[in-house]
Every structure is written in C-alpha cells, then in structure tokens.
Amino acid sequence: MSYPTLMAVTFQVDSFEGPLDLLLQLVEQEELDVSSVSLAKVAEQFLHYVQSSKTIVPEELADFLVIAAKLMYLKSKLLIPSLIDEELEEGPDLETQLREYQRFVAASREIDTMWKAGNRSFVREQRAMKRTEVAFAPPPGVTLESLAALMHRVIARIEPIVRLPKASIERAVSIQDKIRDLFTRIRSHATTSFHTFVKDAGSRTEAIISFLALLELVKQRFVVVDQKALFHDIDISSSPDAPQHDPLAESFA
C-alpha cells in the first residue's frame, strides 16, 4: 500500500490503544501541545496509521474513522474557513476531548504505580458468618414466575455481548461500503457539489464519513474541487487522469 501524499511520517508509533491514544502519541512525539494547529499537523500521520495499521481490530475501526474525519475537518477548516458545517460542528470538539484524555492518561500512570506498590488493604475474612448454623433459609418473595422473568433479563443482557464483535464488524463494513459508494458516485456523476454530497448523508456519522472520503479522494487526485468564490459551494468533479481502481476503498478493507 503506497500513498505518495502520506509518506511524510517522521515518527514511528509502536503500539496504541484506541484513536485518542494514537493521536496523543503523535502530538507528543512532535513535542507539541494539544491545539487545533498541532492536531491538523499530525492529521496525515493519523490517517496513515489508520490505513496501514494491522493492530486496529475491526471492532474499533469505526472509532478510528470518526476521529480521522474530525481531524480532516479540522484541518480543512484551517484552510477553507467557509467549510463550516453545522452537523460536523456538533458534539465535543476534538481538542477538548484530547486534552482531557491526556490528563487521564497521566493520572492512570499514577494509579498504575499505586497498583503495583502492593500497599493494599485487606477485608476481614468472613468467618463470623460461617458460625451461624443455617440449614435452609428460603428467600422471601421468590416465585417461579419471578425466576423465569429474571432469566429472560439475564439472557437479554447477554445478547449484545455475544453480538458485539459481529455488530461492530458490520458497522465497519457499512462504512467501507459507503466509501466505495461515494467513489462510484463521484466517478459516474462528472460533477457534483459539496453541498449535495453532504446533504445526502443520513446521519452525522455519515456526513463525517462522506467528508472524509471526499478529502481522501481530493488528496489522491481522483477528484478535483473548485470553489468559485469564498463562501460559495464547492464543485466536485472527477479528475481526468484518475486511476480506474479504487485504492481508498481497498485501504479500509
């Protein structure tokens, strides 16, 4: 997998847990404070890791993609202020989120030190209770019906756990499908506009994904964008020398 535009990776991150951890490591390696400027600076590296990392489990891919989209949005806003999108503006901003995360990571190191120190407390062994001679103490108020109802609840609670890996993979797959779909749409409709593009998105996540996909396609010169004037809508058209294969979609496979 080679992306000429993404080769500017100057540091190597060995391992990371979750998208915020990766992002924080990238920022810290550049010896930057957490700010929108520094986030924009490491956005490409972040994308590179998301696209090439073998350690991101499918269940968590969607979480990485959302942060990637937020980064790309942040970066493009610095370049094109008119790009402000109300949907994408919603929710906690990435800078605040990462700064908080950073504080908790620092605190977790202290907790780890305490955990390993072995200066622990002990509860009292439960011998006192054993001295009472209890043959059989029926629980008041327990009926056959209440047991069945409770078992139904237990099963209902397990189901999401059992389905979780499958559900997450399905979600990541649907994101991949969406990216593929966008790619096809842009190629078949010679020209579309950014407004139309985002308008079709059914949810905020979809809008973010659409936007991420668009920026990727621009970067890889599959499409060209043209903005007639500041605050005008952006026209999108397929690039005359666009390759016929679909590396973006493949990169998320």
């Binding site: 269940e59 002990f122 006192a128 209770m129 009472t132 059989f136 078992m151 099963i155 979780l164």
Partner: protein
C-alpha cells in the same frame, strides 16, 4: 506502623485467634514485646467507646465485637442469612436454576460480574450446593432440592419455560467464549484487561 496496629490488623483480617508465639513470628518481634503490646491494647481498645474489643484466652488473643453490641450483631447475622436476597444474589440463583450445574467462572461469564461472595452466601443459606462433578478443574454448583421444594416443584424441569430458557443460544455462545479462552479472561475478543 507500631506493633499494636500490626497486631490489630492481623487479628482483624484473619478473623481468628492467634497465639502470642505466632504473632511474634509474623511480626518478627520478641514474644515479650507482643505481650506488652497486648497489655496496652487490652487497656486502650477495651476502654474506648468501640464496637470491637480484644479478648484473651490463655495464650491466645482474638478481636471480637463487644457484648453490648450482641443484639444488633445477631440481628445483622440473621438478616444476612435469612432476609431477602439481593438482586445480584437472586440473579445468580436463577442462572444456576436454569442453567446449572455451572462452575464459578461459568456463572461469572453468564452474569458478567464477579460472583464469589454471592456464591458463598447462597451456599450458606442452603440454596445452592457444590456438586461432585468438576469441569476444567473447577467445582460445579447447582440449586438444592430444598430450594426446589420451597418453590413447589419436584424437579428442575418443572420451572416455567425450562426448555427454552435452558437452551438459550445467547447463554451457550457466551459460555463458548469462555471455553475458547480458558486460560484467562485476558483472551476475550477485542480487548484484554
């Protein structure tokens, strides 16, 4: 930490009598220092307005509740042993009824919560018993006959919706996850603890 506090901590946590000699070994002090500490503790602890006191019996000492607290303590013990079951306890009992016998890790896998205290409490109340069969080196637990009797059923199969609830695919799937990661919970899918 001074010697008296160390002795108090030992007696508290172990919840049984200790001899002066044993306390001397554990704290790496001379028996005569243990004696001195105990004498001091008998004075300070037993004078104080405390719910707990030090009892001496020959060469052994033990921490016990004060006689004045006997009534409230007896009430607590009784409530613990015979009162209403907490929701988590009831849940564990239900799972063992429909899906038992289960080992403790299996029960925990189904509940998603650590259950050792609850299992012990259910055993004390005579609602759950350890069975002879062992799985993966762990003892298995099931509800007692006395409990079924109390519910008015002669066998476990008479529980409402027994077949379908026992055969729940979700429960089987979650138990299968446990088998595929026998070594530890750290091998559960996606994330380790």
């Amino acid at each position: 930490m001074n010697l008296e506090a160390k002795i108090e901590a030992i007696l508290f946590a172990a919840a049984k009598p200790f001899s002066v000699r044993r306390l001397a070994e554990l704290t790496d002090e001379a028996p005569k220092d243990i004696e001195a500490a105990i004498t001091a503790m008998l004075e300070s602890l037993n004078d104080a307005e405390s719910g707990v006191m030090l009892q001496r019996n020959g060469s052994e000492v033990e921490l016990v509740t004060r006689p004045e607290a006997a009534e409230v303590v007896a009430q607590v013990v009784k409530a613990e042993a015979q009162g209403e079951l907490s929701r988590p306890s009831l849940e564990a009992l239900t799972i063992l009824a429909y899906r038992g016998p289960l080992t403790r890790p299996e029960l925990e896998q189904v509940r998603g919560v650590q259950s050792s205290m609850i299992l012990r409490n259910l055993q004390l109340r005579g609602l759950v018993e350890e069975r002879e069969d062992v799985r993966l080196g762990q003892p298995t637990y099931a509800v007692t006959f006395a409990f079924l009797n109390h519910l008015g059923v002669a066998s476990i199969e008479e529980l409402p919706e027994y077949e379908s609830l026992r055969g729940s695919a979700a429960v089987s799937d979650v138990l299968a996850q446990l088998e595929s990661s026998v070594d530890s919970i750290e091998e559960l899918p996606t994330q380790s603890v």
